[in-house]
Symmetry: C3
Subunit: 297 residues, 3 copies
């Protein structure tokens, strides 16, 4: 159930995907793996106590936000008994927020995605500033950004890895392998999302060092998986729609990160969540055959 919870970060319910994702976490840093599993367990347990429905529990739907919250706690506040307590408590609150989000958003036919994680983790990192000084605002280049081949490869992998706060290239590749096990379509979407994000960031002239560590692309990867391989049936039309969404998520990520940084916070996956909500909500309104079918409200 924990493994599936970890797989659900990328909207998959396969335990094998979860296993590979967990391997990627431990490959990135063993503490990240431990806190990730701990968070997934805590939020799943809390959801069970609170009486969440068994089917969602079994699919890991109550675990992914807790997993990400646990990781966010250890990445930002370090490993200690105090942060273990914090990770468990925060992950448990995730399941309450998840239930509320599910009920409120359900009225609009929208999924909660990672919003509970973003809210809970956002509160924690602002309430308990880590003391690390916020990096200075990046100097904006005129014209396009050019990357070296090494930066390009690093950016491609880290766009996937940063979904789990991982910035080692092989962790990104293990995650991609995990996606491939679950669904070929999702893996292709992730690859395209990562590539599109790099292209968009370069066209916008965003700073190369931040593009290189995947800070502008992880939301595009998730948006591509959500719109290109999960919530809409795949047609040429929806593929183009997913491309537009992935591209739009890049300036959105840059803006959210700039806002959050100035308060000692982080954008987390809010840009993914909001972009996906907007494009899903617009899909039935923009009347096209093949869109409105899957998303009955």
């Amino acid at each position: 159930m924990q493994l599936r919870g970890i797989a659900q970060v990328a909207l998959s319910a396969s335990p094998w995907t979860g296993l590979l994702f967990t391997a990627a976490l431990f490959a990135g840093e063993w503490r990240i793996g431990v806190y990730g599993l701990l968070g997934a367990a805590a939020s799943t347990a809390a959801a069970a106590v609170l009486g969440a429905d068994r089917e969602g529990l079994g699919k890991g739907l109550e675990g992914y936000c807790g997993c990400l919250t646990g990781i966010a706690v250890v990445v930002r506040l370090g490993a200690s008994w105090q942060t273990v307590l914090l990770a468990v408590g925060a992950a448990a609150i995730c399941s309450v927020v998840g239930a509320a989000a599910g009920r409120l958003l359900g009225r609009f036919g929208l999924p909660a995605l990672t919003a509970p994680f973003c809210l809970v983790a956002g509160v924690l990192v602002i309430a308990l500033p880590a003391g690390a000084p916020a990096p200075a605002a990046p100097a904006l280049r005129d014209g396009f950004t050019t990357l070296t081949a090494a930066e390009l490869g690093q950016a491609f992998c880290d766009n996937i890895g940063q979904v789990f706060f991982l910035d080692r290239w092989y962790a990104g590749l293990i995650l991609l392998a995990g996606l491939l096990v679950a669904s070929r379509k999702a893996a292709v979407a992730a690859v395209c999302g990562s590539g599109l994000a790099i292209l968009t960031a370069c066209v916008l002239g965003l700073p190369a060092d931040r593009i290189g560590v995947g800070l502008y692309g992880y939301n595009a990867v998730l948006v591509a998986i959500a719109l290109g391989a999960t919530f809409l049936p795949l047609t040429p039309w929806t593929a183009g729609y997913a491309v537009a969404a992935a591209v739009a998520s890049v300036p959105f990520t840059a803006a959210w990160a700039a806002l959050a940084r100035s308060h000692g916070g982080s954008a987390f996956t809010w840009p993914f969540v909001v972009t996906t909500w907007l494009f899903l909500a617009a899909a039935p309104a923009l009347d096209r055959p093949g869109i409105s079918s899957e998303k009955a409200t």
Copy 2:
């Protein structure tokens, strides 16, 4: 009707509670009492002109946000003819915002709580900065915070007093007496909320001087009254649920206060409002006997 309006700040409709609350306001500072009454009167009058239903008016439901807004104006901008005008106008707008909030949130079965006050007062204090320099960000301690007995007692009372911006210990006790008159359950909830908030803030290692003046606990007190004694039937299960909510409101308050401070604003009771919304919205989704009964949408 004004007295009931003031009692409604703590979700009570008893005029005796309102009388004691008003006494607490004057005990804290006579100007706070005057502006509180003025605000309650202005928003009740505006609601009557705008055609609010008589029953809500009679219960004081149109007064509590105006009362708090009046107090916020005098606390932040001082007493003068200009601020009297401002308090009356702002309190009147509260009744419009309250009607809008009631209609929009009613769709989700959620109460408006103090959201209209938070919005109107938040706009005013950011639009009209008082010139007082924002206090520096508190240095975060590693490990737990320890309080002296005096700080502990002060924190306990001020957690209740700060609901009305009061920071004298006896004002907090008069408010508690007012709660006791209305409902023994509400008074017990307030006491537990205040205690839990102190404990949580210490475990999180928040700065002792801010804990001491009640800045982290007033939202927990309101959350405990709302979830433990007002909107959910009292069972062992909902008591535990209310405890979780009160605990969660503490880091939420710290985060919101940090964000607001950096813009010259204040968190007001937003953390109470949002925490209560999330836990109320989650309650029917998390299927438990005895929860969904009271909150028919």
Copy 3:
């Protein structure tokens, strides 16, 4: 269709109004005119591709947010091939956001107004900071602000011109002429909104130089047109209601501008959008004959 799209910024569907508005844009600065037409064309085209309904397209409902977004891009980031690309892309995304906003807000019987523009333009100016240093926070005066006759006239015209980011007095007058062509009621509302905004800003003691360039009044003008001449039937009662809304929008604008400025952003027309939403949502709840008729949900 483009002309109508530009007219829709002031909630009008007349092509003559659009023509005069376009003339005002070119009078203000020819680049603003070009980017405005480009944005309106791009978002209308995107909406057509996405399958928006023909009737809305014909009325220009898909063009006004794109028009404003195009203008915001050139005003903030200057004219270049890169910003042309950006304006076209951003205007296209506006039509997706507009469809989403229409569907989500439609549940509450609320119009999207300029929210899609505010969101898209807000993301861009924060993601791509222009490098211009944010002006220092204005020193707040005690007591009322007094204006010279020249400042007064300039403020009156610029309150209308700033709807399109224009700060030349004759541009504001051409816009007013455009409104007059569409509806005498809308023109009167704009004049009253502009006057009320100046009065309110002076009573609040806001800085004279900012009042003079229309920075506090353009939202009041739009609020007055929306509530006084568009969404509610005109009665003495709704006229008073629109006056309250226009007055309330002034401190709201000051607060939002202060927040946005500290992040290198801009308030755009968010204060108009949110004020209008709140007053429209409150209108049916505050039961008065003649209010609830037009706004069936």
